[in-house]
């Protein structure tokens, strides 16, 4: 058999396998994840795969139970929830503010830098007028309006990023306690209404009652 055919077949088969795994991993996750890269394959063979979009759909259904959801503000990094619920988004990367901030400081954007405020405003829904249009639309300063969220949807991942990534990393240690709603340091005005862990991360939804 020709050597080049063997090599070509090897390259193609590896790519097909890799593509299958990557596609599978995009939409499914294993219930009980380990550090193994092949745990998703193990779960597939064991029939224990969970659709990654399942939690998102559950949260959307949960939010839709709020009759006034269209007037509510959700603080999160994903645009999916406001898109499906017609609610408003306060965009956050959960790295803003100072590492010494309390959760309340974070929510009220107390120590967010101008750049963080602006970045959030650019990505929030409804949109605010853009930076280049300050001269023409002076109400650009809308971004400074501090809106308290009604919900916080905090998703996290334990997967270590590409070690070569050049992304500037801000400290998110002041927010990390949100991963565990049982943490005694979680303030009283946050009421956990949804928790899902699994795979290599999790997602927690809090209702915010800051007025109380």
């Amino acid at each position: 058999m020709k050597l080049n055919l063997i090599i070509i077949s090897l390259f193609l088969l590896v790519s097909i396998g890799f593509t299958f795994m990557l596609t599978l991993g995009t939409f499914y996750q294993s219930e009980n994840s380990t550090d193994s890269k092949f745990d998703i394959l193990d779960s597939l063979l064991a029939g224990e795969l969970k659709n990654s979009e399942e939690d998102v759909r559950k949260i959307i259904q949960l939010l839709k139970q709020d009759e006034n959801i269209e007037d509510k503000f959700i603080m999160t990094s994903s645009k999916t929830y406001p898109y499906y619920t017609n609610s408003k988004l306060i965009y956050t990367q959960f790295t803003e503010g100072s590492p010494d901030d309390t959760i309340e400081d974070f929510i009220t954007k107390k120590n967010w830098s101008d750049y963080e405020l602006r970045f959030s405003a650019h990505n929030s829904i409804p949109f605010v007028p853009k930076a280049g249009m300050q001269k023409m639309w002076p109400f650009y300063n809308n971004m400074d309006v501090i809106q308290t969220p009604d919900y916080i949807i905090y998703s996290y991942s334990n997967i270590i990023d590409d070690p070569n990534t050049t992304w500037y990393k801000d400290d998110d240690s002041h927010i990390i306690i949100l991963q565990n709603p049982e943490n005694p340091d979680i303030p009283k005005f946050l009421n956990s209404i949804f928790l899902s862990t699994g795979g290599n991360g999790g997602i927690v939804v809090y209702e915010v009652n800051l007025q109380d």
């Binding site: 020709k2 050597l3 080049n4 090599i7 070509i8 390259f11 193609l12 590896v14 790519s15 097909i16 396998g17 890799f18 593509t19 990557l22 596609t23 995009t26 939409f27 659709n51 979009e53 998102v56 759909r57 959307i60 990094s77 994903s78 645009k79 999916t80 898109y83 499906y84 830098s113 101008d114 750049y115 650019h122 990505n123 829904i125 409804p126 949109f127 605010v128 007028p129 853009k130 930076a131 280049g132 249009m133 023409m136 639309w137 590409d162 070690p163 070569n164 990534t165 050049t166 992304w167 500037y168």
Partner: protein
């Protein structure tokens, strides 16, 4: 009147028959690439429409909402960082037409990536044999990143498709005026989605000016490419100028701030204040830091997305994604094959000299950790230049595109491997050439040497 009607009807019927014949002939001549494309399409149609049921792509939602604002006339509310308005407008218009933006986005992505897979065959066929073209197409069809783009609603697949159409015309051996016009038009369309296509245009013009200058008369072909390009992008330029007071919205300083690896507190603080300004202000803020980042991007970060230099990461375009670095071997093999290098004393001394000189320069001015790629690139470039007359012109254009694209795009660290798709084709194409023609040639050479050795022993 009757005669005219009959005449028109006859012409139409004849044209229809010609068209039908052409389609049948095309199908018969290109069965394999059509089958590969069809399998790709139906596979990812199934994944996209039966497994991806929730619109989770924040980028897709953002572009749709931005487009909706634009269509509603609320231009002041539409802030799109680093991208033109073409993508948002297409997503919003098609989304509203179907009444489902998610469905529209999925269709755009799937059709665009299917188009990329399909055109990859014809571009490679312009360069090499049909066998090499079909293997290149297979590498596209099984590539995990093409798969990813075809099922996710992002603003990336459509511009790549339009760039690929332009590459098809740009790599034609005999280019008519129409081909130059179409290169300009399709790059212009791609530009309205993503600005990166401008780099392919620059590469094409440089190629025309240097390597096809005998065929151009008074820069005719350059103009024939540029003018349709400008005409295509003119509505975008007018919009940008009227509403943003500038022709293009590269937002480079925003990306520098967000993505540069090497930053200092002072630099970051000052950068925030000039985030709306251009690249020159960013450079003068700290030229040394800027250049440090640039060369890191050029020689490590961006090529890293082509052939991951570490094993433990997924985001790569390598044709061997399990051990991505392995993918560099057939690409280099293909390059050496096409330059028809004979490892004689002259070539060996050139290779060794450039290798050690580069090594010395890295030792003096850089770090081996981040600039080691130069040790491979510089000898290859030198070999390429010394044998440039042996490289077919259209292959040369793709190599030039690759170099120009990386030189410009490396102002920024690309954060996803698929951003390098506009220049990726040359790598699977050279790899396929190595597999199809290079390996048998090496085997034949080895057999010849063995035979020669055996004959010598016998005597």
């Amino acid at each position: 009147m009757m005669i005219i009607t009959v005449l028109i009807y006859s012409i139409l019927v004849l044209n229809m028959q010609n068209l039908k014949m052409s389609i049948i002939q095309f199908k018969n001549e290109n069965k394999l690439p059509i089958i590969v494309t069809a399998i790709f399409f139906f596979t990812f149609f199934y994944v996209s429409f039966f497994h991806h049921l929730t619109f989770t792509e924040s980028d897709g939602i953002f572009y749709y909402l931005a487009g909706k604002q634009l269509i509603s006339g609320n231009v002041e509310y539409t802030s799109i960082v680093g991208a033109p308005i073409g993508g948002p407008l297409v997503h919003a218009s098609f989304g509203d037409l179907l009444g489902d933006p998610f469905l529209a986005g999925k269709i755009i992505s799937l059709l665009s990536c299917t188009g990329v897979v399909f055109t990859s065959f014809f571009i490679t066929k312009n360069l090499f044999s049909k066998k090499v073209a079909i293997l290149t197409q297979l590498f596209f069809a099984v590539n995990p990143k093409i798969a990813h783009l075809s099922i996710m609603v992002l603003n990336e697949a459509a511009p790549i498709f339009f760039i690929f159409i332009s590459l098809y015309f740009a790599t034609k051996k005999q280019k008519s005026i129409t081909a130059f016009v179409l290169v300009g038009i399709f790059l212009g369309i791609a530009f309205c989605f993503r600005y990166q296509s401008l780099l392919i245009l620059i590469a094409f013009l440089i190629y025309l000016l240097i390597f096809e200058r005998t065929r151009i008369f008074g820069l005719r072909n350059c103009c024939v490419t540029i003018l349709p390009f400008l005409a295509t992008i003119s509505p975008l330029m007018i919009y940008n100028y009227l509403f943003l007071e500038k022709f293009v919205t590269f937002s480079t300083n925003f990306y520098f701030l967000d993505s540069f690896k090497f930053q200092t507190e002072i630099w970051r603080h000052n950068m925030v204040n000039i985030v709306d300004e251009g690249i020159v202000s960013a450079f003068y803020l700290d030229p040394f830091l800027f250049l440090k980042n640039y060369f890191y991007n050029l020689l490590f970060h961006n090529p890293d997305h082509l052939f991951k230099f570490s094993i433990d990461v997924y985001d790569t375009l390598s044709i061997f994604p399990l051990l991505p670095l392995l993918g560099i071997i057939p690409a280099i093999g293909g390059f050496l094959y096409i330059t028809k290098i004979n490892l004689n004393k002259k070539h060996l001394s050139i290779l060794l000299f450039t290798f050690f000189t580069t090594f010395l320069l890295i030792g003096l001015f850089g770090t081996l950790e981040h600039h080691f790629l130069l040790l491979t690139i510089v000898p290859l470039v030198v070999i390429g230049i010394t044998n440039i007359h042996r490289i077919p012109n259209n292959v040369l254009f793709l190599i030039i595109s690759c170099i120009i694209f990386l030189i410009f795009i490396s102002l920024l660290p690309v954060y996803r491997a698929f951003h390098l798709f506009p220049i990726w084709l040359i790598f699977p194409a050279l790899s396929s050439l190595f597999f199809i023609e290079g390996i048998p040639a090496i085997q034949a050479k080895i057999r010849q040497l063995r035979h020669f050795g055996g004959s010598s022993n016998e005597t």
